[in-house]
């Protein structure tokens, strides 16, 4: 009898179709984190969203354009599910918590953002970072500087001037942090905010194009944030 059960399971597995790949960045302890980040929260709603579901390759190209960098094929492929925690006070949305995996110099970095319903950062922290100077990155003096920023700031300002590298020899992880936070906000805008911040990107892009034409020059892309 159990052979039949085994056969049914095998047949079921052979006939399956549209599936997910690697697991994205989820909170290790979501209840505690959300309670800490939003003191008025009564609960939250968890969703797993992929680039593949929202527009596939076309969206991936748009994200790369907004990020001014290519998406990495192992950890940023289009079928990686991103976890979104919509924070609720009874039925009312009072914010979001969302994280991303970002390739760092010594391994994967996990950056978590808590944002208000408009996508403005209200907290930012590393769930995981491997670096000889990880303490400097995790220091509140550094992470607090991101509070109050939104995707508009990443699109329209050179944040490297405002938020300085807190380390002596870990510039690679500093740039990775800025890239990870920007990627996180871009995905959040796409998945949850209905492209609210697109106007800043396209406005800035048009302005850049005009400036580029007039100055007839091209800048390096690798450290653009």
């Amino acid at each position: 009898m159990y052979k039949k059960t085994v056969l049914i399971i095998l047949m079921t597995l052979c006939g399956t179709g549209n599936l997910y790949a690697a697991v994205g960045c989820t909170l290790n302890d979501p209840d505690r984190d959300i309670k800490r980040l939003f003191s008025k929260a009564t609960n939250y709603k968890t969703e797993f969203i992929t680039i593949k579901d929202h527009g596939s390759e076309e969206l991936a190209k748009e994200i790369e354009a907004k990020l001014a960098d290519k998406l990495e094929q192992t950890y940023e492929s289009i079928d990686v599910p991103y976890a979104y925690y919509t924070v609720l006070k009874k039925k009312q949305t009072i914010g979001y918590v969302h994280g991303v995996n970002q390739k760092g110099v010594y391994g994967g970095i996990q950056i978590i953002l808590a944002t208000d319903p408009n996508g403005v950062i209200i907290d930012c922290y590393y769930q995981k970072i491997t670096s000889p100077e990880s303490k400097k990155f995790k220091d509140k003096k550094f992470t607090k500087q991101f509070v109050g920023l939104s995707l508009a700031d990443f699109y329209t300002k050179d944040l490297k001037k405002k938020i300085k590298d807190p380390t002596k020899n870990s510039a690679g992880d500093y740039f990775a942090t800025l890239r990870g936070i920007k990627k996180n906000l871009i995905l959040h805008d796409e998945f949850k905010l209905n492209n609210k911040y697109d106007k800043y990107f396209y406005e800035d892009k048009n302005k850049d194009e005009k400036e580029n034409k007039s100055e007839n020059r091209k800048g390096p892309k690798s450290e653009d944030v």
Binding site: T5, L13, D31, D33
Partner: protein, 337 residues
């Protein structure tokens, strides 16, 4: 009709019903393990211990929510496994790993029902279902998951969880008064440095096979009374991940104890490559030298693509309570489409 057949019919029905639903769903992952190697003791082998065999399966994970947020989580993870050491029909079985429903009672507070990790040591906070390196759970408790009910909550700056289970592991059975009570209190999992304190009291059964269908054969019809206390610890150490656990107590009055330590390192220039080293010690009789096991296990792990990981491990018994062995194992692990 024998109870075993009723179980099989019920499980077959649940499998068919769920499979119709889950193959259409988003949170459905396919899983496959190909494992093989060479051992001094057994020559060519197609598995690593009882828990890791050639197998195919799936994991289905779903959160149920309403306008007030999440209220229910379902996790079902099954694998159809082949045990290369068995013959004929006895070589195939269905491993039910996770099979639980968790109902949320409030923020941080939930109750869980089904097949899940006992609340002891590193096992409840690590995902080891497809890895070559395991925690102390197999040596310490005899299995990684058990059937029963669990509760977890926040306690000030600490997390705690409790579980009351059957004491049977993979099999769904209760014999000779078997049961397992466990509890763990720890610093929050959201911190990169975590420490946990665990307790265990129970009478557990030991099985020859590590699967659910067909019902595994018991090594003995008698339970073993177990009492344990344990401490587990995880932290980053420079560029390394470090994790360790120790447990001590008694089995039917005989003192038992052991521990493990594991380092992990990601190669910066090739971040798909991870190197791991584990040392695991366990003694089933603290007074008796021949009852101790000590294994050193270096493992190389390479992520070929987002869905496939290759692992190569060498397992060197420095001491063994049975025949000392040296084993090299290669594993391909697939999780995704």
């Amino acid at each position: 009709m024998p109870i075993r057949k009723v179980y099989i019919l019920i499980l077959a029905y649940i499998t068919i019903s769920l499979s119709q639903e889950i193959v259409r769903a988003d949170n459905f992952y396919k899983e496959a393990i190909i494992v093989g190697g060479y051992s001094d003791r057994d020559q060519w082998v197609g598995k690593k211990d009882k828990g890791l065999k050639n197998s195919v399966g799936f994991e289905y994970y779903k959160k149920f929510s309403d306008e007030y947020g999440d209220f229910l989580t379902l996790n079902l993870q099954m694998r159809m496994a082949y045990d290369s050491k068995e013959d004929g029909s006895g070589a195939f079985g269905v491993e039910i790993h996770n099979a639980w429903l968790e109902y949320k009672l409030g923020l941080g507070k939930s109750i869980r029902l089904g097949h899940f990790d006992p609340a002891f040591g590193l096992e409840p906070v690590l995902d080891t279902h497809g890895t070559l390196l395991q925690t102390l759970a197999f040596k310490n408790i005899g299995f990684k998951k058990d059937w029963g009910i669990g509760y977890k909550d926040l306690f000030g700056d600490y997390d705690y969880q409790l579980a009351a289970q059957l004491g049977s592991g993979m099999g769904i059975m209760r014999k000779d008064g078997s049961f397992l009570l466990t509890g763990r209190i720890s610093t929050p999992q959201s911190r990169d440095t975590q420490i946990g304190l665990s307790f265990l009291y129970g009478q557990t059964l030991a099985s020859s096979q590590s699967w659910t269908i067909p019902a595994p054969e018991l090594i003995s019809g008698n339970t073993i009374r177990k009492k344990r206390i344990g401490i587990d610890f995880q932290c980053p150490l420079g560029l390394f991940d470090f994790k360790a656990e120790v447990a001590a107590g008694d089995n039917d009055g005989t003192t038992v104890a052991g521990g493990l330590a594991e380092f992990g390192y990601t190669v910066p220039q090739l971040q798909n490559l991870r190197l791991k080293m584990q040392t695991l010690y366990w003694s089933n009789d603290w007074e008796e030298k021949d009852a101790r096991d000590l294994t050193l296990s270096p493992v190389i792990e390479y992520k070929i693509n987002p869905k496939t990981t290759m692992r190569l491990g060498y397992f060197h018994d420095v001491y063994s309570s049975s025949d000392e062995d040296k084993m090299i194992v290669l594993q391909f692990y697939y999780f995704g489409l």
